[in-house]
Each structure stands twice: as C-alpha cells, then as structure tokens.
Symmetry: C2
Subunit: 195 residues, 2 copies
C-alpha cells in the first residue's frame, strides 16, 4: 500500500482553490470575492491560501492562467495559407469567448487588477500576453513570407489594430461583439497591412 503523498494532496488543494476562485468571481464579481469564500468553497483553510498567494488579485491571476495551462507551449494559430480566412477564424473565436460568462467574468476581474496594479501588469505581460502575442506574430510572419502582408509592416502595431478594438468594445461594453464585427475588423486591418 503506497504511503500518503503530500505533494499530490497539495496539488489537489491548489487546483481546488483555483477552480473555486473562477466559479466565485463569475458568481459574485471581483469586488464581492473574498479569501474566506474561496477557502470555504475549495474546502481548504484560509492559511493555505495565504501561504501560496500574496493577495486576492494574485489568486485570480493564477486562476486565469490555469485556464490555459493545458495548452501551454502549444499556442499556435491556424495556417491554411490564407491569412484573411485564418484571422477571421481566430477573431470570431475571441468574440465567442468574450460572450461566455464563465470565461468573461474572471478575465474582466483580471483586467481590472492589471489596470490598477503596474507590477501585476508586468507579470501578466511576461507570463501570459507575451507568449500568446509571439504565436500570433508567427502567423503574421508566415503571411509576410507568402507576400500577403508588407515585408516592413510593424507586427506589434498590427496585433494592436486587430485586437484592441475588440478588447475595448468588450471592456467598456460600448457596442455589440458579433462575428460580423470580427470579420470587418480583419478586413480593415489587412487593408492597412497589404503590400
């Protein structure tokens, strides 16, 4: 009979805390979220949470990161050879994610934290945004090699033109996010980037 495995039990607790955090932030929002409620939902003591995370923001941050952990190192964009079709697939998927309450509530909470905490913003860029942006730029580079995007295009600016309008609409709820909007965005931005 194997000895009890503290590392495995600890990992189970960690995952339970992250899951409880995502559920609660969806149900009660970031402002209504408390370490007490997370501990109760996860079935761990408050001290367990404080041992691993320095703040509520830090727990929410890791809870979001864990959402994409399965795909870690494997972020790639579709490459059918047609940059316009591929970007439309990707931006339509982003629109659908933002329409999903289970996804959008924790992401909104994370964005509010990042916007008010420069240190967290830097960590977010390094751990989450930079690798994803790299994957997106790799797809734009392959479009450059195929002559579909200008060789001297600024790919960082290209990414911002593609994603920032969608992000702003979502964050400020300024207008509806639809698949047609995703398509129009891709068409406009590609017009700016074509040779």
């Amino acid at each position: 009979m194997p000895a009890p495995d503290p590392a495995r039990r600890s990992e189970r607790s960690r995952l339970a805390v992250l899951r409880a955090t995502r559920e609660l932030v969806t149900e009660v929002g970031y402002a209504g979220l408390s370490i007490e409620a997370i501990a109760a939902r996860a079935g761990v003591g408050k001290q367990t949470i404080y041992r691993w995370w320095r703040s509520k923001g830090a727990v929410v941050f890791d809870a979001i990161l864990a959402l994409s952990e399965g795909s870690e190192g494997a972020v790639t964009l579709p490459d059918t050879g047609d940059i316009e079709a591929d970007l439309k697939v990707v931006l339509r998927a982003t629109v659908a994610e933002f329409a999903d309450p289970a996804f959008e509530a924790p992401i909104r909470a994370l964005n509010l934290e990042i916007a008010s905490d420069p240190e967290l913003a830097a960590e977010y860029r390094k751990r989450l945004a930079a690798p994803v942006d790299e994957a997106k730029k790799a797809r734009l580079r392959s479009a450059q090699q195929a002559g579909q995007i200008r060789a001297d295009a600024d790919l960082d600016l290209a990414l911002e033109l593609l994603y920032a309008p969608l992000y702003q609409r979502w964050l400020l709820r300024s207008a509806p996010l639809t698949p047609e909007y995703a398509d129009a965005l891709v068409e406009h931005v590609l017009r700016a980037l074509r040779p």
Copy 2:
C-alpha cells in the same frame, strides 16, 4: 446689500467636492479614495455628498465630466483640409494627456468603474463618449467629402481603429505611448480607410 444666495453657495460646495475628488484620486488612487476624505478636503459634510451622489463611483464620474465642462458643446477637431496632419495633432494630444498624472489618474479610476458597472458604462457613453465621438466622426466625414477617406468607410470602426490601440496601451501599460506611436497609428489606419 444682496441676500445670501443658497444656490450659489451650493454650487461652490459642488465644485469643491469635484475638485477634491480629482485631487485625491490622483494622490491616493481610486481604491484609497473615501467619501470621508473628499468631504474633509472639500470642507463640506459627508451628508452633503451623499445627498448629491449615490456612490463613490458617481462622484468620480462627475469629477471627470466637470474637467471637460468648460468645452461642452464646443468639441471640434482641427480641420486644415489634411486629414492625416489633423489626426496626428489630435492623437499626439491624446498621448500627452495620458502622460499627465493629474489627468490620467482620475481617468483610470473612471475606466475601472465603467468596466465593472454596466449602468455607469451606459451613462458614460451617453453623456461623454457619444458627443466626443460625434465630433470626431464629423472630421472623418469632411475627409470623406474631400475624397481622402472612402465614401463607404465604417466611421465607428475607424474611430475604434484610431483610439483603441492607444487606449489599450495606456490602460494595460503594455508599451510606451510616444508621439511617434501616435503618428504610426494614424498612418496605418488611414491606409485602411483611403479610397
């Protein structure tokens, strides 16, 4: 000798509260801001504030609106006949505003409130964003008439392409905001909009 004027005294108190709110949000941030501190700084009672505003968010909101009150009804963009030059002037000015702590701290606090409160977001759109967007679109329309922008361009999307990348950089502090960045943004977006 004129009788004391309660309306004038009341307006003085209101302006003092709004000024105190802007100062404090700049000094201590939105999270650190309290109605008590605003009342003390403005030299009014807490009850005076609660009589006029339903929440801290509502006071901050009006404090920001008051910033642009002097120019109300007079929002117009420069029109020299050269849309590229005019947009560069406007976007460089926006970059400079975001670099000014006295301006950026209350605007950041307001944006966090809007992002977490759909009702406030709707009020913000109606009272502040919509009139300003109308003024910006009027300038784009005059560029359309001058043949510098396609007649069938989607002007709402055009505004988002111009402003959202800048907004996102500022909000998430993801990269530096410079005059050169403002210029590059205008050049890229106009390439997407030209006939």
